[in-house]
Subunit: 453 residues, 2 copies
């Protein structure tokens, strides 16, 4: 049966189909070090909607599971090959179809890299605000599949808040168009939102029309050093109650040291935490003053501010280096928990407790103003006991977030890595309902089965 | 069978069940004058989640359709009784369960009136921003069912953007809890968004946790008079390209005259259009100056501005009177189309053409900054030919919006009134998919059948 499916794919799609394991291997995994990886039956490198339709029809005919893959920058194993699947890569569908400056929309294929869209929008004085840390390597299709976040979500919202309309292919090959490019639209069920964050379990997005915003004329950046992580997150809670920064990022001492080691930036290594804050829009300067005041009132040992955009961007770059910097320290297990912002102090206390209990090093950074943290466990991959302790600490951090009314994943997705925790967040009735909704799209259960929920 | 269902409802719910047509009649219709109305089998006045569960279980057992009703202020017939249905009123579930100022959330039952929540939030210096014109008479449950909009959506988003989590009862009586009170949450499918705007076709919302925002310290209000509707909407397009007002409302000459007649406000009756604009937040004054400049540059004959919040509220009240004022002029057929903001000039031109072609009076007002207009046809209900012309004009206005890439409904919902147009916006594949999704919640098809999509 599998051979027949491969033969049919090759008949329809020729050299776009790869079956040699030496070649398919490089498409088989995302960037999550510990998620399971299988061996695909075939890789299809789609370059058009027709290719996607043909692939899904074959998959449906032969009952073969399909794993859709964008740029492969995922962190939860959601795009890893499963054994015997068709690995459908949409990386080659990377055309910016249209930028409409009057309507302030961009229409793109799923393989377009996030920052490439940003550059194209900038030519019209516009920006695409969702800015995951991976923006230089992640695709819009993957951003949609995970409902990706980023640094500016605290002011501008996540990927889902910027998608007007989608074109998607159902497993039987039917092409559907969802949503509208109006600011408000209540006609019918919101299929657009349903597809966003569905991690390839419903359909394959082949085109997206997203909202662009004008580039802000003003941007102020603040760097504030704190003697404790608790003081830093208390400042976050107080700041977000008074104003709306366009980014408010936390890095703890472990992360600071890693960033210094990688970049030689020389952030104060004695501080236990740093907040990197931006304010934009017409009130940027006023809002920045509030941020400075609150930081000082919460015991910041140093507060630096610049209204120079380039200097600010350089400072924020320290935060963008957090993950690559920590990756240099050993193997990492990156978490992505979210809690109500007011409970950040409880969450950082819980992380410290887990770190001590399991004797693991945790570098914590993240989107503090959203209550979305990335506690990152660093371990020696050659040490089996350390690996086991890392896994246990990872689970305890997720459970600590859930105990605070938080979420298993704020922006990376569930993939396979976090699947065991979904049943600890939602009840059986909610998960059964999700599976029934999935079946409305995918009655044969071939779309990324066993992932997401 | 119907009698058996009634008997069972009465056994379980006693005097909460009404079957006397003299009494059920007043629960049988919303505020849409032309949508179909049937005779319910029974009205259930639920006061608890248990009542809703019991009602839905009986409905499922006996295969009786269920129409859920909040405050009955709908404008599309979505909560009108259908023949032989159980009309489930959740109006009595009107408790504000909790306001959490630290988390900035409110947890409410569905029958809570929008402005009652606003007043309760104000006691904590907070506000619930979704502000439909009906805020004094519409309930949060109904706002959720229709994904209601309002005046401040152009800056703050629609109802869906303010709902963190829902508790809903499925037709078989299962209670599900969706979402999380974190700013970001990508765990599982987005069932919260799916329920919002679903017009009672999936489940019954029995509790909602919504986001609150701090009250803005600053608010500036601008009134600008224009010699043509086109000049006014050209100003809207130009303003929204430069800044983000917290409201930007249009009224045409017909609407102005009606408001003057009702309120004696004395808005310039010679103007063809007025824009009522507010700016809030720390940059309110700066943004208001931009709005004034753009209005003048687009030929405004008079521009008035106040930074006094009370005076501003009084001016905006003129806009809130638009619908009641037009209702005094005859029977009305209120539309709710949305187009991309840049195409507003085309939409107002199309409305003028339809008005001339069908010889009908149309008063147009609406949320211009969102491209969401309410062209309102005024007709003599005693004149059959006029009624017919009104219906035809109504249809042509919807079709003009669709021809501009717009939507059948921006914020009122489809109900039964606009059902014929849904198939002109979405294709058969999209609508079939919506019905399969509905079946995932409602396999027997008893939830508000024949409404919404």
């Amino acid at each position: 049966m599998s051979t027949a499916a491969t033969t049919e794919l090759e008949r329809l799609l020729g050299t776009k189909v790869l079956t040699d394991p030496d070649r398919t291997g490089s498409w088989s995994r995302d960037q999550s070090p510990l998620a399971d990886v299988g061996t695909p039956l075939a890789v299809v490198r789609a370059t058009s909607t027709d290719d996607v339709v043909a692939t899904l029809r074959v998959a449906t005919s032969f009952g073969v599971p399909v794993v859709t893959r964008g740029a492969g920058s995922g962190l939860a194993g959601g795009a890893n090959a499963s054994d015997g699947c068709i690995l459908l890569s949409v990386e080659g569908m990377d055309e910016i179809v249209e930028i409409d400056p009057a309507r302030r929309t961009a229409t793109v294929q799923p393989g377009v890299i996030n920052s490439a869209l940003g550059r194209a929008a900038a030519e019209h004085g516009l920006r695409y605000t969702p800015d995951p840390g991976s923006r230089d390597i992640s695709s819009i299709g993957g951003n949609i599949a995970t409902n990706a976040g980023g640094m500016t979500c605290c002011k501008y919202g996540v990927t889902a808040d910027h998608v007007a309309s989608l074109v998607a292919v159902l497993p039987d090959g039917t092409v559907v168009r969802t949503g509208a490019t109006t600011r408000k639209n209540v006609t019918g069920l919101d299929l657009t939102r349903l597809l966003i964050g569905s991690e390839g379990t419903l359909a394959v997005v082949v085109e997206a029309t997203v909202w662009l915003k004008p580039v802000s004329e003003h941007e102020s950046t603040i760097v504030a050093m704190f003697p404790t992580v608790d003081a830093a997150v208390q400042a976050v809670v107080a700041t977000t109650a008074r104003t709306t920064p366009s980014a408010m990022e936390l890095m703890d001492r472990t992360t600071i040291a890693a960033v210094n080691a990688l970049t030689g930036m020389g952030i104060d290594a004695e501080a236990e935490a740093v907040l990197l804050i931006t304010c934009d829009g017409p009130a940027a300067a006023t809002e920045a003053v509030v941020c400075e005041e609150v930081a000082s009132a919460h015991g910041a040992t140093e507060v630096f501010r610049t209204d120079d955009r380039d200097e600010g961007a350089e400072l924020m770059n320290a935060r963008r280096m957090a993950l690559p910097a920590l990756e240099k320290q050993g193997s990492i297990l990156l978490d992505d928990v979210g809690v109500p912002v007011g409970l950040l102090p409880d969450m950082v206390a819980a992380i410290a407790k887990v770190s001590a209990e399991h004797d693991v090093v945790v570098g914590t950074f993240g989107h503090a103003a959203d209550g979305n943290l990335h506690p990152t466990i660093i371990f020696d991959p050659a040490d089996d006991a350390a690996r086991q302790r890392a896994r246990e600490a990872f689970a305890d951090i997720v459970r600590a977030a859930l105990a605070l009314g938080g979420t298993v994943s704020g922006e990376h997705g569930i993939g396979s890595l976090k699947l065991p925790f979904v049943t600890e967040m939602y009840g059986a009735a909610e998960i059964a309902l999700m599976h029934r909704v999935k079946a409305a799209f995918d009655p044969d259960g071939i779309m990324n089965p066993g992932r997401g929920y």
